[in-house]
Amino acid sequence: MIEYEIKPEKGIKFNLHEIIQYKELFYFFTWRDIKIKYKQAVLGFLWAILQPLLTMIIFSFFFGNLLKVPSDGIPYPVFAFSGLLMWNVFSSGLSSAGNSMVSNAHIIKKIYFPRLIIPMSAILVSVFDFLMSFIVFVGLLIYFQINVNILKMCLFIPGSLFLTIICTFGMGSFLAALNVKYRDFRYIIPFLIQSLMFLTPVIYPVSIIKYQWAKYIIAANPMSGAIDLARAAIINKPIQTDLILISCFSAIVMFMIGLLYFRKTESYFADIA
């Protein structure tokens, strides 16, 4: 016999077991978003591959060929793509998670389920895109004949992805909750992503920064650590543990803030959405 209580929300509960209980809904939301994303597009899922590939080509032309941005000793296209691989998870995950509560408002108002499922599944969709573009990445590595340490790859790429997801989830759920209350964030999010791109070593290597203190500031951006870690898998040089640790720490802080704020405000989403 199930017995539970409905009462005014006080304090913050995490109800992890509840999310597990609703795992099928989580799966269906993700599946829906993936299906819809590429529906009625002639090229369909190919877009998941084409998007980062085309960006990489443009970046390689302007930054690699024209501006001669250094690339830590590997061909610039591979360098740029390794950065874009993680950056795209972050940027598309953040923008869809940030808008997810508002775009699913009609469901939130009519049915109960753990609200956290919505930004989570939005991020999972961009992880799916990551898997697609990772195939291209492997293709690039083979094409440019890069010597890869398989062990490093198996360790650093998932580690980097994990760091990216933690940070995207933290910021995404925070912005999603804020967006329900303040619709201003619909306009702030794209701007935020664009500015963050320049603060993240996507198109340039961390090594071009001269001052150590500036490196620490850049490392406070978790995406910089994530991308650095991903590149460490293909570039033959020691990883800067202190910078990665700073990134990990700040990712965890973001994760906690986002999760707490979301949990604190979620019970009133249906009233104000």
Binding site: M1, I2, E3, Y4, E5, I6, K7, P8, E9, E24, L25, F28, R32, K35, I36, K39, Q40, H106, I107, I108, K109, K110, I111, Y112, F113, K181, Y182, R183, D184, F185, S267, Y268, A270, D271, I272
Partner: protein, 420 residues
């Protein structure tokens, strides 16, 4: 003694109202509004201290006017929004159906939408797999299963949505007025399905509707909500009659009293509807007399015929009713003065439904229209289907397609023993 499956204890819910921008806050409002300055104009208690118990197998109808708090109560029960005060103890799985087709997506096919909608409503994938054929059968859209939902007609979407919802198997089912949409056939099918859910499977149902006959046929108990308050659970007939007769209706219309000063005119002062006990109301049973009263003044000294046109909710003019008495005896014809005309729609005449009145003052010769007030009054007629509903004989289903359900003189005679 069985424990209640739902214990609702002192539930209250507060909303803030009055934000000029309709509730959306902008960042600027929060950042720059001074501390202590009230952003909201007022608070509004949608529910106040609502308490009642529901026992397993009960079918409870929640009745009340628009804005009485019915939907808020359902939203709290289905955990969409938390109460401000009080608590609810639930002893069973709740599924709520506040809308048909929640989460339906036009880009996905019918098959995909069954899975999506089913899982949103709380079905497990295995359960959907098991019931898939049944759901498709009930919906009757098997030919279009792999067509995108956006190409479905709205009726097909509705059937599919209800088919999924009908196959939920929670201990407690919460249904908001989802049956208001769809045609009469579909509504009958839904009610039938819900009856079989509650009666044969013994599940607990909470049902909100404005359709009194649907509530009566489905529910055994009723809760009347009035401005967010309730007196508790009653027998359904008792709750319905409290709702229908409990308070004075707002079925009085006043018209431009400033005209009183104008000379040389014919005008309506007020109009109201009463039952046979001279109580002003806007709700009648089919076996009540409905007395339409028109108070009018004649300062012109011309012959006047007060009358009204009765219109149903489908904008069909049901009938024209004229105060024939005012004209019968020539003496009243053109005398100046203030009058009340009372026109009675007899009991056992109108069918259950909602009606509007256009009220007018006309003169027959020469044909002149002095004044018309469109949709001046409103009333509703319901059919309690008890022993007083004599016009329907022994039939118990509702025939809302018919405008009238009159008690007509009828007779029968046996003419022979032999069948030839």
């Amino acid at each position: 003694m069985t424990k209640p499956i739902l214990e609702i204890q002192n539930i209250s819910k507060k909303f803030r109202i009055g934000g000029a921008d309709g509730g959306y806050k902008t960042l600027r409002d929060s950042l720059f509004s001074k501390k202590g300055k009230k952003v909201y104009k007022s608070e509004f208690w949608a529910l106040e201290d609502v308490s009642f118990d529901v026992y397993p197998g009960d079918t409870v109808g929640i009745i009340g006017k628009n804005g009485a708090g019915k939907s808020t109560l359902l939203k709290i029960l289905s955990r969409i929004t938390p109460p401000t005060k009080g608590r609810i103890i639930c002893r069973g799985r709740i599924a709520s159906l506040l809308e048909v087709g929640t989460g339906f997506h036009g880009e996905l096919s019918g098959r995909e939408n069954i899975y999506l909608n089913g899982s949103i409503l709380g079905l497990k994938r295995a359960e959907i797999n098991r019931k898939f054929d049944e759901i498709v059968d009930f919906s009757g859209v098997e030919k279009f299963l792999d067509t995108q939902l956006k190409h479905y007609s709205s009726g097909m979407q509705l059937r599919l949505a209800f088919a999924v919802a009908a196959h939920l198997e929670p201990e407690i089912l919460i249904i908001d007025e989802v049956l208001a949409v769809g045609d009469a056939d579909f509504q009958k099918k839904c009610i039938g399905k819900m009856e079989s859910i509650s009666k044969s499977e013994g599940r607990t149902i909470l049902f909100v509707s404005h359709n009194m006959s649907a509530i009566q046929s489905l529910c055994s108990k009723g809760i009347l909500l009035e401005d967010g308050k309730t007196k508790g659970v009653f027998d359904i007939a008792q709750a319905v009659s409290q709702y229908l007769y409990g308070e004075e209706g707002n079925s009085t219309a006043f018209f431009s009293p400033d005209k009183l000063n104008k000379n040389n005119s014919v005008f309506i002062i007020e109009a109201y509807i009463q039952n046979s006990k001279n109580l002003t109301t806007d709700r009648f049973a089919v076996y009540d007399d409905i007395c339409v009263n028109i108070k009018w003044a004649n300062q012109k000294g011309v012959p006047v015929n007060p009358n009204f046109i009765l219109m149903n909710k489908f904008n069909v003019n049901v009938m024209l009713a004229i105060d024939t008495e005012v004209d019968r005896d020539g003496s009243l014809k053109s005398e100046k003065g203030t009058y009340i005309s009372k026109i009675t729609i007899p009991k056992n005449f109108l069918n259950a439904g909602e009606y509007f009145l256009h009220i007018a003052l006309d003169s027959a010769s020469p044909r002149t229209c002095h004044e018309v007030h469109y949709n001046a009054l409103y009333f509703s007629v319901w059919d309690p289907m008890d022993e007083n509903s004599v016009a329907r004989g022994l039939f118990t289903s509702s025939y809302e397609e018919c405008m009238l359900l009159p008690l007509l003189p009828s007779s029968f005679t046996k003419i022979s023993e032999i069948i030839n």
